[in-house]
Amino acid sequence: MVDSKQQWKAWIYLAPAIILLPVFTVWPIISTVRMAFLNGYKGLEAVGGATFNFGIENFTKVVKYKKFTQCLKNTILLCVLTVPISTFLALIIAVCLNSIKVFQKALQTIFFLPYVTNSIAIGMVFAAMFNIVGSFLGTSNELVQTAGIINNVIMFFGGEKINWINAGSSYVANMTVMTVYIVWNALPFKILILLGGLQSINKQYYDAAKVDGTRRIRVFWRITVPLLSPMLAYVIITGFIGGFKEYTSIVGIFGEKMGPADDSKRLNTMVGFIYDSLSTNNQGRASAAALILFGIILIVTLINLYVGKKRVHYA
């Protein structure tokens, strides 16, 4: 407790947050809600003195957009695919890392690298890796063998090359690339959290299990996973929240077109939809979409918490 005579000190310490949060967080949120419920709100027109009626037109319009349903589908699909895969992989990697003694620190650093690198830059590298072999970028008569290492590997093992991301590629191929990239990108943070959790588990639990002749797989499911469950819940919930806000990773691989050359916007997401609406001066529509996204994340998180209630064991 701060001494009551020293209260002014406490207020000074809090001042930056008290001044900045309302300006940059609270007001924008209120403003977003307001814009969402003003029919057809456009920022520029509002500045010009136009008035808008109160209503839910923005929401009904947004939901009816074919583009919007595509964005919603992409977002949900990416979440459902990447969160379980990345969580499970991170768990396996963390357990393995935790059980080795040599190179642990070095490997930890390597696994953490994606976290500190720029996701647009890495996305471009991934795009290059998944490029199709023979896509010609040289002069008209020259067939350039591009550096699509993935297809090179597939062909080395006698497989047929796959059009992953170039013009004419399939939706499934696009989603596969996105899943691989997002999972890879999501791993480091999850590994870090889970490894920290693993290292705080008392070794005696494992000694006790050993004396009782518990098989490894049972130790993993009956001891490691339950004792790690608070961390697992944390990475799953933050994973879903991050997943619903997926945007940069797609820009990283497909560029601002959000899709292969012949079908742009095919891989657009919710956040992408909001940006598009903003850039076309449709702030009302963008706000409505943002609120819908907020609602979805809220519901998913509540479901997560509800499901976790019985399965998460807080010490």
């Binding site: 005696q204 639990y205 004396v211 009782d212 002749g213 009956r222 064991h313």
Partner: protein, 363 residues
């Protein structure tokens, strides 16, 4: 099941890698634990007693030597194949499982012909819980139990698969004083009922003395003495054992044998048939008899009345410790204002040790 340790040695590499070298935690142990007995491994911290326990359990590998359960050499067997039950110092109960699930856990690992149905497992768990008297707590989580109850759960979990040997690592160290007394009786009772050969580790001599059939006193990885608690107390083989056992601790004096007499300071305490030499003289607190004309005279410091008996605190220039404590019957008449106090000494409560080797000298 008797347990035999034969030339058991454990060497750890030194922690300081640059300095190199190694630490001998357990040095060439040889002893036999008779079937169905309760054995206390006793020693100050760092003496290798826990390491010995973990080697018996199989969690630590032996550097050399052999361990036999009955006639079977188990030295290279993994813990699960030895059939031991181990109770950890902090119990290591799985916090996410109920008491019942904790106790059943070892049974769920059984394979092949040993496999039990769910009903059998529950029945066995109930039996174990009844034995340690926690059958009303089966649905609770460990965090909802007191320290003593957690201890019982840990014992039940160790006992449920009917181990050949039960091992307890400092079983009472996490309990408060009252619970400790109660739990040690409990351990004794459970051991008597199950007749399972039990080894427990402790640094508390009172604990070891009170419930063990046999104690093993250790120091720096070397066995000092093995025997029944009373025998070890009455007949310590060296100064370390004499000092380690007994509360209040033994009184030690710098003494000297001269012309067939034992001297403490200037007082000739008794006749001994030994060559002249310097010795340590150990006298148990209960070894003093109040006598105004006694052989040993000390400066009286204080008298502490404890009801049943009286504790006299005195000093003597020849004493190795600043004070000497003697326990006398409460009926004795003591002049509290006197400057000095004189005692006779019970011959069976006085021990002589070589001043250099600290080994016992029999006389």
């Amino acid at each position: 099941m008797k347990v035999v340790l034969e030339n058991v040695t454990k060497i750890f590499p030194s922690r300081d890698k640059k300095a190199g070298g190694e630490v001998v935690a357990v040095n060439n142990f040889n002893f036999e634990i008779p079937d169905g007995k309760l054995i206390g491994l006793l020693g100050p911290s760092g003496c290798g007693k826990s390491t010995t326990l973990y080697m018996i359990s199989g969690l630590q590998k032996l550097s050399s030597g052999h361990i036999y359960f009955g006639e079977e050499d188990v030295s290279d067997l993994s813990p699960e194949n030895r059939g031991v039950g181990l109770v950890f110092q902090n119990y290591a109960l799985y916090p996410h499982m109920t008491v019942k699930q904790n106790i059943m856990f070892p049974l769920e690992n059984l394979k092949g012909s040993d496999k039990l149905s769910k009903e059998e497992r529950i029945e066995r768990a109930r039996e174990a819980a009844r034995l340690v008297q926690i059958d009303e707590l089966l649905e609770r989580k460990p965090s909802e139990l007191s320290g003593g109850q957690q201890q019982r759960v840990a014992i039940a979990r160790a006992l449920v698969k009917m181990p050949k040997v039960l091992l307890l690592d400092e079983p009472l160290s996490n309990l408060d004083a009252r619970l400790r007394l109660q739990t040690r009786e409990e351990i004794r009772r459970i051991q008597r009922e199950t007749k399972i050969t039990t080894v427990f580790v402790t640094h508390d001599q009172e604990e070891a003395m009170s419930i063990s059939d046999m104690i093993v006193v250790m120091k720096l990885g070397v066995i000092q003495q093995i025997g029944a608690p009373q025998d070890v107390y009455d007949n310590p083989t060296n100064l370390f054992v004499a000092k380690f056992l007994g509360t209040p601790p033994i009184n030690v004096f710098n003494g000297e044998v001269k012309n067939g007499k034992l001297y403490i300071g200037k007082d000739a305490v008794m006749d001994v048939k030994l060559e002249d030499k310097k010795v340590f003289v150990g006298i148990r607190p209960e070894g003093f008899i109040l006598n105004p004309n006694g052989v040993l005279t000390n400066d009286l410091l204080s008298v502490e009345v404890m009801g049943r008996d009286v504790s006299i605190v005195s000093s003597n220039p020849a004493s190795a410790n600043p004070t000497i404590r003697s326990i006398i019957d409460a009926d004795s008449k003591i002049d509290r204002d006197a400057k000095t106090i004189s005692f006779d000494i019970k011959p069976n409560k006085i021990f002589l040790f070589d001043a250099e080797t600290e080994e016992r000298i029999y006389f």
